[in-house]
């Protein structure tokens, strides 16, 4: 069977997955910093070492993500939506909708049982539905990013804020702070606002269960709780949602390697 690699070049991080026969051999991630190309190469080298493989063992590398074109060692590229659909069906065969919330973009993909994308929507205009929103709000609340989720879960109710724009939302949050609203409730309000944006995007595709959530933000318990409330359905999350895009790309790379032979 083919050994393949998927590289997901996001806006903050690069994620690399090496697979053989649909099994994950290794996965690594690296912050992009100011030298994204180098960061990607490092992550790839590290993934090879972890899997005890050399570059020649990899039959096909497929890159995805907003920086896919910057991955010099990739043999091909695939769209983020195509990779998400494939990964969603890989993790859960019942997946029909895959939501991917990354650092600066959120998207939702409708797919079939084989992981072929059927329709998609993107929220690219505003970061209010993406990970950087939580970061900005955590700064405003003077709370560690990791603590935002657990904090929000303690809230008894949410204070509504404007989520049409990160900047407006931040000034809403500041006025809530000045009104001395508890941080727990503000945190919950932030996740609710974000979930509102993401769910309105998902609803444009219609509710097609099972719904799978991937991307770095899927790790955030606060956001997941808000999104479940908003969509009124269960949400499936793979163990390592951050690597979903790279897994999808690696699966597509394996197909492409097979086709070439």
């Amino acid at each position: 069977m083919a050994i393949s690699a998927g590289v997901d070049m996001g806006t903050q991080r690069v994620k690399v997955v090496i697979m053989e026969d649909k099994q994950i051999l290794s996965q690594t991630q690296n912050f992009l910093g100011f030298e994204p190309t180098k960061a990607a190469e490092q992550a790839f080298e590290e993934a090879l070492q972890k899997a005890k493989l050399s570059r020649e063992d990899i039959q096909h590398v497929t890159a995805t993500g907003s920086g896919a074109g910057m991955v010099s060692f990739a043999d091909s590229t695939v769209s983020m939506m195509g990779a998400d659909a494939r990964a969603g069906a890989y993790f859960f065969s019942s997946a029909r909708t895959v939501i991917d919330v990354g650092a600066e973009e959120a998207r939702a993909v409708r797919c079939d049982e084989k992981g072929v994308m059927l329709d998609f929507v993107v929220n690219a205009r505003c970061a209010a539905g993406a990970g950087t929103f939580i970061e900005a709000m955590a700064r405003a609340l003077e709370v560690e990013l990791e603590d935002m989720g657990s904090l929000s879960l303690k809230a008894e109710r949410a204070s509504p804020i404007n989520a049409s724009c990160v900047i407006f939302a931040e000034s809403d949050v500041v006025s809530l702070i000045h009104r001395e609203e508890p941080k727990t409730e503000i945190a919950r309000a932030i996740f609710d606002a974000m979930a509102e944006r993401v769910s309105s995007m998902v609803l444009r595709l219609g509710i097609n269960p099972d719904i799978v959530l991937v991307g770095g933000v899927a790790k955030d318990v606060g956001f997941v709780a808000s999104l479940k409330r908003r969509l009124g359905t269960e949400i499936l999350i793979p163990e390592e949602p951050l690597f979903a895009g790279a897994v999808g790309a690696a699966l597509i790379a394996a197909r492409r390697a097979g086709r070439r032979q």
Binding site: V78, S79, M81, G82, V116, M117, F120, A124, R125
Partner: protein, 403 residues
């Protein structure tokens, strides 16, 4: 703006020249104006070209496709207004468009809110002749109201040019336009098979008919078709025959800047080929001929009036069954041109097209045909994001075939 891609038909060189707003054609129009000809601009496809030609005037569409001009328009109207309107006003503010500047009068059909108020703004600079198309085509009074509008416009054209529209000059104008339609349809038929011409070249050909001398345009389009027919024999394709076939519908895309979506589609990886569109800036310009039964004045007048109302698929129309003619046009083209997927293109502020999307998507979903809503602005800044979306859509079309 010279476009280069491999195997471009030689006959396209002419259309490149004509597409230059500051070139030969502008010079020619200036000369004709000095010799006493009038230039009649129009903002939308409801203006009766045959009447303008019959009176010996030059018809030119004057809506602006310049991105930067839209930013100028922002100074006097909110950014929520459709950029086609903001850009047309912006172009006027700096006298950017030679055809708008050279117009002796402008026909402004009031098809949407933007065009209604655009008419007012332009009236500060030029004589403006409004036309009000009825919003429900099939009501018994609609056609008679429209004919009254056409009578008034006819009178105004005659007054400006000092030329009576007669049986013989109207017949000759109708025949010129019928020949143009025939040449256009010949080109369209060539697009039904494997891609022998890029969608962008075909769009440029259609669009130059809006300001070129229509007889010369017809001749050059026929020459292009001759060349393309040879290429069909040689199987010399603009794209591999298995390239995904895309249709665009929605807001008009106007030369020179508002061309980014066709560029994205045809330069994407995987690439798609634009085979047909449902746009008043493209395939709708010339598709419908004026159908005359008898060459009497009243028959010709009625035939011209009916052509501009009944054949239009503009989203300004409605009925209890929605905008049926537009839906039918789209459905027919999908079958005839073997369309794999539809890009529904809307610029922000283009309310009518935006609001018709849900209904059209429902119908296309029922057919199992992928459709993607691509919304944008008069700007180059979102090209990266749009590329991601267009590529994913084309990948999806490809994956449906190859899995």
């Amino acid at each position: 703006m010279k476009k280069t891609w491999p195997n471009r038909p030689e006959a396209m060189e002419y259309f490149d020249e004509i597409s230059n707003f500051f070139g030969q054609r502008e010079k020619e129009i200036r000369e004709q104006k000095e010799a006493g000809k009038k230039l009649i601009g129009y903002t939308c496809m409801f203006a009766p070209i045959e009447f303008i030609l019959a009176a010996g005037a030059i018809p030119v569409r004057v809506g602006s496709g310049w991105y930067d001009a839209a930013k100028l328009g922002d100074r006097i109207m909110p950014v929520e207004v459709c950029p086609v309107i903001r850009s047309t006003v912006g172009a006027k503010m700096v006298n950017l468009s030679p055809y708008l500047e050279l117009s002796d009068a402008i026909i402004t059909p009031l098809t949407c809110d933007g065009r209604t108020k655009l008419s007012e703004i332009l009236s500060d600079f030029k004589p403006v002749w409004c036309m009000t198309p009825p919003r429900v085509k099939d009501d018994p009074q609609s056609l008679s109201l429209w004919k009254e509008e056409m009578q008034v416009i006819r009178g105004k054209i005659e007054e400006l040019t000092g030329t009576k529209i007669t049986k013989s000059n109207l017949r000759s104008a109708i025949e010129k336009m019928q020949k143009a339609t025939k040449a256009f349809r010949r080109l369209q038929d060539l697009r039904k098979g494997p891609p022998v011409i890029t969608g962008r070249d075909a769009m440029l050909v259609s669009q130059t008919s809006l300001w070129d001398d229509i007889e010369r345009w017809t001749q050059k389009t026929n020459e292009l078709c001759d060349e393309l027919e040879k290429r069909v024999e040689q199987k010399m394709w603009a794209f591999p025959p298995d390239t995904s076939r895309v249709m665009i519908t929605g807001t008009p895309m106007l030369w020179p800047d508002s061309w980014k979506v066709p560029n994205l589609i045809e330069e994407s990886n995987p690439a798609g080929v634009l085979v047909v569109d449902e746009q008043c800036s493209g395939d709708r310009i010339l598709y419908d001929p004026v159908g005359v039964d008898e060459w009497t004045m009243s028959d010709m007048f009625d035939a011209v009036s009916e052509r501009y109302l009944m054949a239009s698929t503009c989203p300004c129309f409605t009925s209890e069954h929605g905008n049926e003619d537009r839906v039918n046009w789209i459905m027919d083209r999908i079958k005839e041109y073997k369309v794999d997927g539809v890009i529904y293109y809307v610029v922000r502020g283009c309310i009518l097209y935006a609001m018709e999307y849900a209904r059209i998507k429902r119908i296309l979903d029922r057919m199992g045909l992928p459709v993607y809503y691509l919304d944008t602005e008069y700007t180059r800044e979102d090209v990266g994001q749009m590329k991601t979306r267009v590529e994913a859509f084309l990948e999806m079309l490809e994956a449906r075939i190859d899995i």
